[in-house]
């Protein structure tokens, strides 16, 4: 089994130590490097080729959002998950606009950290609690989504499979696929990830993708 390689960037040793404790029983995850400042991240990515960078927003030297931008430019295949004490919606939004795969607030239960990392690497996009207000009905109408399609779109955010969505909504898996095809067509997207991103960017999402705050 290939292990997921993680680089942690946080200027507080307390957090780095805590993250190590939180992940140590997850044998599929390997911490390949630690950076205590933003400026150390890029060289360490070059040396260790991580799958994901777990990045604090506030760091000396180069702040997390700047690092995020540079990582996405230079290493587009490397995912970045922000792990931060900052829960200011404008900062969270800025992180997603710069290409973050997840924004994890430090309120997270450490037991959930490994799952959040795995799903960020798998391509799901997470948004923290409270970022988006309740679903904009107008936005849904504009996209011409039915109530059922909107529900399925929201379920996509949590990284659920078609089978799981079908089970939760008491639908046949084939019906979920049918709705997904319609959702993709209406939103002009080609994948689940693109659909979730669209929902986020257009205010269609009103539920937690992943409860991280």
């Amino acid at each position: 089994m290939r292990r997921l390689k993680i680089l942690i960037a946080d200027d507080h040793q307390l957090m780095i130590h805590a993250i190590r404790l939180a992940l140590e029983d997850n044998t599929d995850i390997e911490i390949v490097a630690e950076a205590d400042s933003g400026s150390k991240v890029m060289p360490l990515i070059g040396q260790t080729s991580p799958d994901l960078v777990l990045l604090d927003v506030r760091m000396p030297g180069m702040d997390g959002l700047t690092v995020l931008e540079r990582v996405r430019e230079r290493y587009p295949k490397v995912r970045v998950a922000m792990l931060s004490a900052v829960d200011d919606p404008s900062v969270i939004q800025a992180a997603f606009h710069r290409g973050a795969s997840a924004y994890i607030v430090k309120h997270i239960d450490p037991r959930d950290l490994a799952a959040a990392i795995r799903q960020a690497i798998a391509g799901a996009i997470f948004q923290p609690l409270g970022l988006i207000e309740r679903a904009g009905d107008a936005a849904a109408r504009e996209a011409d989504l039915s109530k059922r399609e909107l529900t399925i779109l929201q379920a996509l955010q949590s990284g659920r499979s078609n089978k799981q969505i079908a089970s939760e909504l008491f639908l046949a898996e084939q019906t979920v696929k049918f709705h997904l095809t319609n959702i993709y067509r209406k939103l002009g997207v080609n994948s689940r990830t693109e659909a979730v991103r669209y929902a986020y960017e257009h205010g269609l999402a009103d539920r937690l993708a992943y409860e991280v705050a």
Binding site: H12, L14, A18, A22, D109
Partner: protein, 72 residues
């Protein structure tokens, strides 16, 4: 700024203090089952509490059954 961490198993306090010191904090035993933690290097008390709580919850994962209280 200082925060006090109290745990339900006093025998584990040295382990917690060692972990906190290894993480760059100043941690001193102030009672049989409590330590005071300073120098967290955070910008605010709220951030200090958040990071200390995250650390302590992660520490609890390797010490199941210990209950922890953090206070100012």
């Amino acid at each position: 700024m200082a925060l006090v961490v109290e745990i339900t198993q006093p025998a584990l306090l040295p382990d917690l203090i060692t972990g906190l010191k290894r993480s760059g904090c100043v941690a001193d035993r102030v009672a049989p089952a409590a330590c005071r933690v300073r120098d967290l290097g955070t910008a605010s008390r709220e951030e200090a509490r958040l990071e200390l709580a995250f650390f302590v919850r992660a520490w609890q994962l390797v010490h199941p059954g210990v209950e922890v209280t953090i206070s100012a």
